[in-house]
């Protein structure tokens, strides 16, 4: 099967010279849940942000290597970054609604893409909210401020906001970090539904969560992709000693 995202020999160096990623090569396949795990500051979030070029915001950084999205080099000249970000959409660790109503949040990306037809917007809003398991809770208060939602609802709103764009790939950066176990469960459960339509790349909250949701997983350590494998193999019989040490809780 053709990978949807293909990373080759990727290096990422911050302005101050810190190497955040070292020679990372990785293929992501359609409709899988791929989990990137590893200790703090090992480069997970950096890698995630590179995939839709949010890394452009990091000033003075140097990128080497290639990332292809559907065979297309995303760093090539002439790439429409906004279109890329609509197709490879990010949900952040801290749920950040934009000021405005729930509806405004959900339609924002679409409106910025030039979609104005009310019927289209309405339909997308409902579908995205249903997919994020939020529809029943907010369908009667779409015009209320998004800040009035609870933490778990906010995070599902942010997920729905990405889904409304009908992306191909969803990047989840520790989406359950601030959530209670119940909300965490809801987000994790929705992943199974979501991967029917989307490719999901996720940085998990913990190794346990990684084991629960991953189809395949990759272990990042100090910017190095140590090991990639199917989840059931990686978490039960890792090939690399460092992976095993991390999984069994010997460090990190």
């Amino acid at each position: 099967m053709e990978p949807i995202i293909s990373i080759r020999n990727l290096f990422f160096t911050y302005k101050d010279g810190t190497e955040a990623l070292k020679n990372v090569s990785l293929d992501i396949y359609p409709n899988e849940v791929f989990v990137l795990f590893g200790p703090a500051r090992s480069g997970k979030t950096t890698l995630l942000r590179l995939l839709n070029r949010l890394s452009d915001l990091i000033e003075g950084a140097r990128i080497q290597g290639t990332i292809q999205f559907k065979g297309q080099d995303i760093f090539a000249r002439g790439v429409d970054v906004t279109a890329l970000r609509r197709q490879v959409s990010m949900v952040f660790a801290i749920p950040t609604p934009l000021p405005g109503s729930i509806r405004d949040n959900l339609t924002y990306g679409l409106r910025m893409a030039g979609i104005r037809r009310m019927s289209v917007l309405e339909e997308r809003v409902e579908r995205a909210l249903r997919q994020a398991a939020l529809w029943d809770e907010v369908k009667d208060r779409l015009d209320e401020s998004a800040f009035a939602l609870s933490g778990g609802q906010k995070q599902r709103l942010c997920l729905a906001r990405s889904l409304a764009l009908e992306p191909e790939v969803i990047l989840l950066d520790n989406p359950t970090s601030g959530l209670d176990p119940l909300s965490t469960g809801m987000v994790e459960d929705s992943l199974y539904e979501l991967k029917q339509r989307y490719t999901i790349i996720m940085v998990p909250h913990s190794v346990q969560q990684a084991g629960r949701v991953a189809d395949r997983a990759g272990f990042l350590l100090d910017g190095e992709l140590v090991e990639v494998n199917r989840a059931e193999r990686l978490f039960t019989s890792p090939r690399d000693q460092r992976t095993e040490d991390y999984i069994t809780g010997r460090f990190g």
Partner: protein
């Protein structure tokens, strides 16, 4: 003397000195209000000066200052707000940016009379606008730039960075992000900056001396190429150039000018504090 005694004396001295700063301000305002309030009447505000300006009102000067203030707003706002957006959103930490910041610091420091000279040399003479509202507004507008730019930049920077990142991540362009996520939330702060700048411009005398202010014009200006009377200059004229001017008239004029300027400052402060209350984040 023990340390505790020193401490007590120091605090007492510092508090007294702070009082020395604050109390005169109160006295100044009180003094002008008490002496000027008697002169203010409907006629004073709506009638032109009469009898060699010794009688009558201040209407042409008041209206002239209002015109000039609007002119200043129109002249300064687009450039100042755009420059603030540049500094807050586009300028990296480059040599060029440092020069821009230095230029703004210097613009803020140039004496108002030098702005007057510049306005005379550039707008009145070189561009041949003559002594006119246009020349005066442009001069005041340029003088106002640094205040508006700094306050507006501050307001733009106070919008949390996360909103920008989220907006970009949803596929908005940089300008869309600024237009939809930054400017709406920075708007009250930007308005505060504009009003503060205008309050300064409304009270200035030196920049309008040679660019627009007229000693006495009985009628209101008819176009932007007309001269006009203006309150600050009028106060200067009636207090130093017109012998036998009744003192109450002078105090009245000073009071009207003070109220005009302070009410603008007050509006700016209110806008700012209301914005802080309404903030959702």
């Amino acid at each position: 003397m023990t340390r505790q005694q020193t401490q007590k004396i120091a605090v007492a001295v510092i508090s007294t000195v702070a009082g020395l700063v604050v109390i005169p301000i109160l006295l100044v305002i009180l003094f002008i209000v008490v002496n000027g309030i008697g002169a203010i009447s409907w006629e004073f505000l709506t009638a032109p000066p009469k009898n060699g300006m010794r009688e009558g009102g201040i209407m042409p000067a008041l209206v002239g200052t209002i015109f000039l203030t609007f002119g200043t707003a129109i002249a300064a706002m687009p450039l100042a707000i755009a420059a603030a957006i540049y500094l807050a959103e586009y300028a990296g930490d480059t040599r060029l940016t440092r020069w821009v910041r230095l230029a703004i610091v210097n613009l803020a420091g140039i004496p108002s009379i030098v702005y007057g000279l510049f306005g005379l040399g550039a707008f009145v003479l070189y561009f041949n606008f003559g002594t006119s509202i246009l020349a005066g507004s442009l001069t005041l507008g340029i003088m106002t730039l640094p205040v508006v730019i700094s306050t507006a930049e501050e307001a733009i920077l106070s919008v949390p960075r996360e909103f920008r990142v989220v907006s970009l991540s949803l596929g908005a362009t940089r300008w869309q992000t600024i237009r939809h996520q930054v400017l709406p939330h920075a708007l009250p702060g930007i308005i505060t900056g504009v009003i503060l700048g205008l309050s300064r411009a409304a009270g200035e005398t030196a920049p309008i001396l040679f660019t627009v202010a007229a000693f006495y014009v009985p009628h209101l200006p008819r176009s932007i190429f007309d001269q006009t009377m203006a309150l600050p200059y009028h106060l200067y004229v009636i207090s130093t150039q017109v012998p036998g001017m009744p003192l109450s008239n002078q105090y009245g004029t000073a009071l009207v000018l003070l109220l005009l300027v302070l009410s603008l400052t007050l509006v700016a402060t209110i806008v700012r504090s209301r914005m802080r209350q309404r903030r959702q984040w």
